[in-house]
Symmetry: C3
Amino acid sequence: MHSAPAFGIEPAAHLLSALATEYPRGSVFLAVVDPGVGGKRDPIVIQADGRTFVGPDNGLLSVLWQRARRRKCFRIAWRPKRLTSSFHGRDLFAPVAATLAFRRMPRGWLAAKESPEVLFDPADLGKVIYVDHYGNCVTGMRATSVSRNARIRAGGRLLRHARTFDAAEGPFWYENSMGLVEIAAPRASAARLLRLRVGYAIRIAR
Amino acid sequence: MHSAPAFGIEPAAHLLSALATEYPRGSVFLAVVDPGVGGKRDPIVIQADGRTFVGPDNGLLSVLWQRARRRKCFRIAWRPKRLTSSFHGRDLFAPVAATLAFRRMPRGWLAAKESPEVLFDPADLGKVIYVDHYGNCVTGMRATSVSRNARIRAGGRLLRHARTFDAAEGPFWYENSMGLVEIAAPRASAARLLRLRVGYAIRIAR
Amino acid sequence: MHSAPAFGIEPAAHLLSALATEYPRGSVFLAVVDPGVGGKRDPIVIQADGRTFVGPDNGLLSVLWQRARRRKCFRIAWRPKRLTSSFHGRDLFAPVAATLAFRRMPRGWLAAKESPEVLFDPADLGKVIYVDHYGNCVTGMRATSVSRNARIRAGGRLLRHARTFDAAEGPFWYENSMGLVEIAAPRASAARLLRLRVGYAIRIAR
């Protein structure tokens, strides 16, 4: 997913948590949204409910960590011969992810760590976390948390639920393919219609 | 091809028809341009001149269907355990396409169907159907239908044929790599020069 | 790398030279930036320090050619049955690259050639050669040529070196992951801040 919003660690953490459960157990994920690359944060590995995640300890893996029932955390102790200051995705995380995928982790590459250090709030996030190329706006709210009768306030309007794009006449909300509340419009860009961007607040109207 | 124009079923049907013949026989295509996902149209499978296509019965597969000499149509009767309302590409079409690629279709997954229900006109389409990232404008006209001496009217100008980009001095037309008439300009964007977009009409000048 | 700047043969030649050394020996590269496709330039194959390159003799392969210690050049004598005028990448170069990757080159496909005909200056290029989607500006200057104390003039400003994005407070330069001088800004677009584009000059300030 190369189109995750630049520098947006928190929205990426919510996106990754939702997307990951669509993949089979045993999957290995390499994820970096990492404006602090080359700085002090640890490189880590997380095992969460049967899936494995490799990335920086900057909060990116912390939403899925806190939502997992069975989980383990490791610090990556291994360092490659050549570690550039700006591309740990290639130099450090990719070899570790490949090694995990082959299930042949050499002794000493990983060290025990109790938990990630940077922990974002794992509750539903009432914000737009991603806008796709149609202008559909994914939010950080899980659809299981929201009644189908609820209306959602976004961009100054109150939106009703619809099950499909064709069932709606204007902007609406629906449960998207990864289980999140998404704001969309039939054959139009909800982002443009409602002037929404990543980070903008949405609210459930009571 | 993730850059097909959003919501444009007819241009996509012409693009797919032209692109498909560039692939070897035996290829399996999964194609969705599907603003009506979750609505009433059937999911279908088409066999056409040795290639197989999986997608919605919304016209997308209908141009290649009508141009094929040997062809068969099926309705997809199988349904996955989980069918989201907005991502049949993943939930429904992808498992069927993968099963077809393995040549192991379980009994009952496909049912006979005489023909797709939505049928677009399969004749050459005198419109821009795709604009690539250079600004080259692909049309729905097959180059075999057009004399090399013909001039093409597009964006208020009359364009002559050229065989290569370097042989032209300004906007021109040529037979592109998939056999369609394409409007281009040497080291410039024809879309910007001629103010063309997907859907705009082009005409052969007599 | 589909995002190389359109029509920019010289910046692409510098990019390719820097990127190629990140790949293992034995790699085969198919590279085209080719506004002259269908014109008179030869299709060529270059072997350079253990890697193989397939592309047009328009300068694209000439920077890495001149920087190589062990090298050979060939003209591609083979022609496919169908050679469209605009897509030699698919029709001509791809089959040759695939054949090279399988290490089964039929007799007569390649002919000896002393050297590419179009030869760009292989020295460091004091220009922006690529702007990535963050707005980071890659230059054609190799970082080994530049002292860490040097300041670089770009877009009317003098930039200091920083090792990481977090270590800088505004626009800075650093050695990027392929060994080139890159101009960047922490959590911002250096291209926008400094109004830089591909082709713009940068200079080492003395």
